[in-house]
């Protein structure tokens, strides 16, 4: 014998024994379609859609050789954002975000292996038509001890902020860079001709649809960050929910993006902000999904009485 539950106005309904009236669903759908089609066409004609061209490595390195060389040396010496990222790109002790003791990023491991020194610098250089100077520099660098490599890289990294571009060429003050200066000069030349774009994408073969490495390399640059800030797209400018230009972008991401604007996500939780924001959003989403079963939350409509506006004709009668 089943047990009869008590009536709960936040969960149950009384059977409707009132009147019915004609309601033409097919007509309603047709009218809605026409209205939305007209609105869409009007908005498309009036505002169009944004389409700023993609940044290429050629464009970046031509526009800012110093930034390119700064990024390239950080890839070679393992200090770039990608080189120190950890999973899913590479193994770096202690790298990766956590939610308390939960380190999902680390636990999942490396799925898209990226070795910045090999993939962004040494590998592409080895595919260029060999010049005696480059050949010699590559051989010397790869045959050197890690300490020698580190010393050359550190010296070059220290000098690069003082570099200048004269007549389209990157001029770095003299210093103990070993073969690194030759490597960087050839890589910059390769980049400004567009050959580096092709080399990084085509690492996987003739056909390429995976731009993970190219985007990580460009993403390490100051150039992309500056372009994003110029378009008001930085994380602290409500970031990726915006489009370039004055377009609405993805306003449905407002709550996700909101957390990146406020403490403690911007302060004490900053190192793990992404993971904590994701955890919070998953929790809120679960709450939204399960509202029908959560006492208190499911009572909000009854408490706020907005429903009396929606069904005002019914309650009036």
């Amino acid at each position: 014998m089943s047990k009869q539950r008590n009536y709960n106005p936040d969960r149950d309904v009384s059977p409707w024994r009132g009147g019915y009236r004609p309601y033409d669903i097919a007509k309603e759908l047709t009218v809605c379609f026409v209205v939305v089609a007209v609105l869409t066409i009007g908005l498309a004609i009036t505002f169009g859609s944004p389409d700023d061209k993609a940044i290429t490595i050629k464009q970046w390195s031509s526009a800012d050789q110093v930034d390119f060389a700064t990024t390239a040396i950080s890839e070679l010496d393992g200090t770039s954002g990608t080189a120190t990222y950890g999973a899913p790109y590479n193994h770096v002790d202690g790298a990766g975000q956590k939610i308390g003791p939960i380190a999902l990023q680390q636990w999942v491991g490396v799925h898209h292996p990226v070795d910045p020194a090999r993939d962004f610098v040494l590998g592409p250089l080895s595919t260029t038509p060999q010049s005696p100077a480059l050949d010699s520099a590559l051989t010397r660098f790869q045959g050197a001890s890690p300490s020698d490599q580190a010393a050359w890289e550190a010296a070059y990294e220290k000098a690069i902020p003082h570099a200048k571009v004269i007549n389209g060429k990157l001029i770095v003050p003299p210093g103990p860079y070993g073969p690194v200066q030759v490597l960087m000069a050839h890589l910059t030349a390769m980049a400004t001709t567009g050959a580096l774009d092709t080399s990084i994408v085509q690492g996987s073969g003739f056909y390429g649809t995976d731009y993970t490495k190219s985007l990580l390399f460009i993403g390490d640059s100051g150039y992309l960050a500056n372009q994003g800030a110029d378009h008001h797209l930085s994380g602290d400018q409500w970031g990726m929910m915006n489009d370039t230009g004055s377009y609405p972008g993805q306003p449905w991401l407002w709550l996700y993006t909101l957390w990146y604007q406020v403490p403690p996500f911007t302060t004490s939780w900053g190192d793990n902000a992404d993971a904590i924001v994701w955890a919070l959003m998953m929790l809120l989403t679960l709450g939204l999904l399960l509202i029908p079963f959560i006492p208190g939350l499911r009572s909000i409509p009854r408490w706020t009485r907005v429903y009396r506006l929606i069904w005002r004709d019914h309650y009036r009668s």
């Binding site: 936040d10 009132g18 019915y20 859609s49 389409d51 700023d52 999902l104 992309l224 993805q250 029908p292």
Partner: protein
């Protein structure tokens, strides 16, 4: 008296010799669950008299325009719209129908929230609506990172950190254009459309939720 809003399913005649047939059983079950007069009704309860009810239909209309314009973009490939004024216009139609779709859907969601539309055994209807919203956010994100322009570069490099931080990026790589395009034009549209169909069928099965009554009562008197 029942406190749930139950439908009275009519029985469909079935020949005795066909009683064991799987096909006949499936048909009888489907028609019993959702008879034609409930699937495509021409009458609605008299309490259905607010503009807020339009937003479900407006959302469906916007979704249909998204699908049509998406199919048109697919005909010529992912970079066509950068090179052709017609392509750019179709892309603009696609973009604005998406913006309208989310606007209508969010208003629809808030409307249903304030109606407590999960009442009367309609929790699954509410949940399929929320899942449609989530799948749509994914479909939109994959669309943005498949545009093959500066926006897609920027959004992909920004979005990767959130996804990677919880391990999702290992399997759902927003930097991989090929993978994102497949998710955008096949997997997520299928998911959105399938869940939307289920959502609409559930709405039709259970009917429009009656007004909130604080006590159990026979609403509206005798019909």
């Amino acid at each position: 008296m029942s406190i749930r809003d139950r439908s009275v399913a009519p029985t469909t005649p079935i020949l005795e010799e066909d009683a064991a047939m799987w096909t006949a059983k499936i048909r009888r079950s489907l028609v019993s669950t959702l008879p034609p007069e409930r699937l495509i009704p021409d009458r609605q309860p008299s309490y259905l008299s607010s503009w807020i009810y339009m937003f479900g239909a407006l959302t469906l209309a916007a979704l249909s325009i998204i699908v049509v314009t998406g199919v048109l973009l697919s005909l010529e490939g992912p970079t066509w719209w950068h090179l052709s004024s017609v392509g750019l216009f179709v892309n603009s139609l696609h973009l604005w129908s998406v913006e309208l779709f989310f606007f209508f859907m969010v208003v629809h969601l808030w409307g249903k929230f304030f109606m407590a539309a999960w009442r009367g055994n309609r929790a699954l209807t509410w949940m399929t609506g929320v899942i449609t919203l989530l799948a749509s956010v994914g479909a939109a994100l994959t669309g943005y990172v498949s545009q093959t322009n500066f926006d897609s570069q920027w959004i992909a490099t920004q979005a990767k950190d959130g996804l990677n931080s919880v391990g999702v990026g290992a399997f759902f790589n927003v930097l991989n254009f090929g993978q994102m395009l497949m998710w955008h034009i096949i997997l997520l549209p299928l998911a959105v459309i399938a869940i939307t169909v289920l959502h609409v069928l559930l709405v039709r099965k259970h009917g429009i939720v009656p007004p909130i009554e604080l006590t159990e009562a026979n609403q509206g008197g005798e019909a």
